[in-house]
């Protein structure tokens, strides 16, 4: 993770800020974005990349722990990258945010029933069952995943992977339409 920002402005309260960037699916685009975070000292909590409903356009969800002003500057900085088509700050907008995790947990026979009970309570599920361990899969908000990890910890977590958050605005419209012109619109300012 990058170092703390060196900027001298007094910081407001830091919260998890979620931005969605629509980017051209070209070699090096992700490199440009990550390089920007690194050199500007933005502290990234998670970053996910994937395809979208439109060919040639990828969608990046990035969660930073920052105050609102820092998030605004991050958004403005992202816009300066020419492969970035548009950016949405969904932190304060009605939206759905989810993250997925696999947790490999020690599961000795005598505690297995207790473990499965917990998994059920969290609406998680077991996707692999071994003699010594199980893999639990879960999807939910960051808080839900944090909660599950905490209750599993006493069993002994062998391995943990989280995907990082993906987010989508509620409502009928598709995101990312503002900045992404059709090709025939050209590059006029």
């Amino acid at each position: 993770m990058p170092h703390e920002s060196a900027f001298a402005l007094p910081a407001g309260p830091k919260t998890a800020q979620t931005l969605i960037a629509y980017v051209e699916d070209r070699p090096g685009t992700l490199n440009r974005i990550v390089s920007l975070f690194r050199r500007r000292g933005f502290n990234i909590e998670s970053l996910t990349v994937g395809r979208t409903e439109r060919e040639g356009i990828s969608r990046i969800t990035v969660v930073v722990r920052a105050d609102d002003e820092t998030a605004r500057r991050l958004e403005a900085n992202l816009y300066k990258l020419f492969n970035v088509l548009s950016v949405e700050d969904v932190t304060h907008a009605p939206s759905v945010t989810r993250e997925m995790a696999f947790v490999k947990v020690r599961a000795a026979q005598e505690r297995r029933a207790e473990l499965l009970q917990l998994v059920q309570t969290f609406r998680a599920r077991v996707v692999d069952l071994g003699p010594e361990s199980v893999i639990v899969e879960t999807t939910g908000t960051q808080e839900k995943l944090d909660g599950l990890v905490e209750v599993l910890r006493p069993f002994g977590i062998i391995e943990l992977v989280r995907t990082g958050a993906v987010a989508m605005l509620r409502g009928p419209g598709a995101g990312g339409q503002n900045g992404a012109a059709r090709a025939e619109d050209g590059v006029a300012a």
Binding site: A8, P10, R39, E69, R73, A76, K80, F82, N83, G179
Partner: protein, 584 residues
């Protein structure tokens, strides 16, 4: 492109089946010609040879530099002198990496240049082939954008877009890396190639509410200052700035790169702000109740210690790059967008006023500072750099285009050469690149063939790119080159004097005989050791048809005053001792 040159290419017996097809190399020149490029600065090598081979027949002049850093600075100097895009060309590997300092210089100072580099064939990419380097990776943080082009059909769209990106919005450098097989391959060149990008590039515009709030703050202010940055010059808004200042009676101070955006001879002009800014300016900033910042970015050399910077002032910030707003200084009114457009909206919204008490207060400070000004101190048989710059200003009637290097001489120039016109000072501000001046001035020469140009460089910086003197001779360029030779890396020596107990580590500098060196490179040269010799030397330099080096052997341990040490309150200036010269 004219049909005549097209005929020249066809006559080479190339194996083209379709006459509408061209090689990627030909397309490079076709696109440059379409973009209005008249001159490129470059150095050939293996991976860019197909492009060089295709140059004859196109109406573009190539200037062979002696080091690729010079090519990038020349493109930069051309861009800053003209406002148009400058172009540099280099081969792969070391050719490309030698451009890096020049690209970073252009990035920091928002100068529009396009750098074209050759690259190993696409089949060899990633194999550590001879002279292969990942130049798009290397330049990623120091370009506005860059491209790796591996097919002939991508050359035109990438290059056209590169020019668009370089000059649009906040300008900056763009690099286009073209593999050798893309230069050799064939593609149809459309009369208007389809745009490559799917993205619009809107320039932000300040809202009318923000303009109204800014006008309210301006009308209510009693001690306001206007800050003129390079954005005033880049957006061609000097006249609008003058209208705003004259209507509101608000005095104007400039950043280093903003000098010339507001006439230095104007009664409302205060001079430069910041680390080596005028004492009355920095003191007034700390006392001001409103700062109206136009096209600048509150660099640390401008602000000093942020925690104590202009704490009494509200701030209005007009700036084309939204990432600069609220970056270093928290502002009260943000006016994102083109400075000219913002000023056009703001001027009718503000009240006409005079602010005599505030101006009187600043004038009084100015008078207090006068006895400490080296200009008012007799030379006593010595040659001071500040006197050289002052006399140069007088002798050229302030009308020369001055291109400076980096260091003490740069600050003396900013203080004592009074610029009345935009684009009359070219200097490396943000990156502070030594070796910038000579090649940048050579580039400027192509943009401004009629103007008198003076290079002002120190003995240290000049030696970094002195090899370009012979390029001057080969190309028949007329420049007047002043070397301010104090035998030290002067600015570092000054810091050692002030902050490192006068331990002059690695700053005493032996130089070659600059007169002989210049003559060996085919330039005329003379030397000045006394102030009274300056007028004749300047006259001789101006009369010489070719480039001339004038070496000024100046006082060795003079310092630039005033000085605000790094990260210090602007009021805590180191001043020139008032009696420093009386003792001698």
């Amino acid at each position: 492109m004219s049909s005549q040159s097209a005929a020249v290419q066809q006559s080479k017996g190339s194996p083209q089946a379709d006459p509408a097809q061209k090689t990627g190399a030909q397309i490079v020149w076709e696109v440059l010609a379409r973009e209005g490029v008249e001159v490129v600065f470059g150095y050939p090598g293996g991976a860019i040879m197909p492009t060089y081979d295709a140059l004859p027949g196109y109406p573009i002049r190539h200037v062979l530099v002696r080091h690729e850093q010079g090519a990038a600075h020349m493109a930069d100097g051309y861009a800053r002198a003209s406002g148009k895009v400058g172009v540099a060309i280099a081969t792969s590997g070391p050719g490309a990496t030698n451009l890096v300092t020049g690209i970073a210089t252009a990035m920091m100072d928002s100068s529009p240049i396009v750098c074209i580099t050759g690259q190993v064939p696409s089949t060899a990419l990633g194999s550590d082939a001879f002279q292969e380097t990942d130049i798009t990776g290397i330049t990623l943080p120091i370009t506005k954008h860059n491209y790796l082009v591996t097919r002939a059909e991508d050359v035109a769209p990438a290059l056209h877009e590169a020019f668009f990106i370089a000059r649009s919005g906040r300008p900056g450098p763009v690099l286009v890396d073209i593999t050798k097989d893309a230069q050799q391959g064939l593609a149809r060149l459309e009369s208007r190639p389809p745009p490559r990008s799917m993205r619009r590039h809107p320039i932000p515009v300040a809202s009318s509410e923000a303009i109204a709030r800014a006008a309210l703050l301006i009308d209510a202010a009693e001690r306001p200052l206007i800050f003129a940055g390079q954005g005033v010059i880049a957006s061609g808004s000097s006249q609008l700035l003058r209208e705003l200042a004259e209507k509101t009676g608000i005095p104007v101070t400039s950043t280093l790169l903003g000098l010339g955006g507001f006439p230095a001879s104007h009664p409302l002009s205060l001079g430069m702000m910041g680390m080596h800014g005028e004492a009355w300016v920095n003191a007034s900033i700390q006392e001001a109740d409103l700062l109206i910042a136009l096209g600048m970015r509150f660099d640390d050399r401008v602000t000093g210690k942020l925690q104590t910077y202009a704490v009494n002032a509200r701030k209005i910030h007009a700036e084309i790059d939204p990432t600069e707003i609220n970056k270093n200084v928290r502002v009260d009114v943000a006016l994102p967008g083109d400075v000219g457009r913002t000023l056009s909206a703001l001027i009718p919204a503000v009240q006409a006023k005079t602010r005599q008490p505030w101006l009187d207060r600043i004038s009084a400070r100015r008078s207090e500072a006068a006895p400490r000004d080296v200009q008012t101190i007799p030379c006593g048989g010595k040659l001071y750099a500040a006197h050289v710059l002052h006399d140069l200003w007088r002798l050229t009637e302030g009308k020369a285009l001055v291109v400076t290097d980096v260091g003490q001489h740069q600050m003396w120039e900013a203080q004592y050469y009074k610029h009345d016109r935009p684009r009359s000072l070219i200097t490396s501000g943000g990156l502070g690149t030594m070796g910038f001046a000579l090649p940048a001035a050579m580039g400027a020469r192509f943009a401004r063939p009629q103007d008198e140009i003076w290079v002002v460089a120190g003995d240290g910086g000049f030696q970094m790119t002195a090899c370009e003197m012979v390029t001057c001779a080969q190309e028949g360029l007329k420049l007047n080159i002043a070397i301010i030779n104090n035998g030290y890396l002067g600015m570092v020596r000054q810091w050692q004097e002030f902050f490192y107990n006068r331990r002059y580590v690695a700053t005493p500098l032996r130089s070659p005989d600059f007169v002989k060196l210049a003559e060996a490179h085919g330039l005329a040269a003379l030397r000045v050791t006394k102030r009274e010799e300056i007028p004749e030397a300047v006259a001789r330099a101006r009369a010489e048809p070719g480039s001339v080096v004038v070496e000024f052997r100046v006082e060795q341990e003079d310092s630039v005053y005033p000085m605000v040490p790094a990260n210090t309150d602007l009021r805590d200036m180191i001043r020139r001792p008032a009696n420093a010269f009386e003792e001698e």
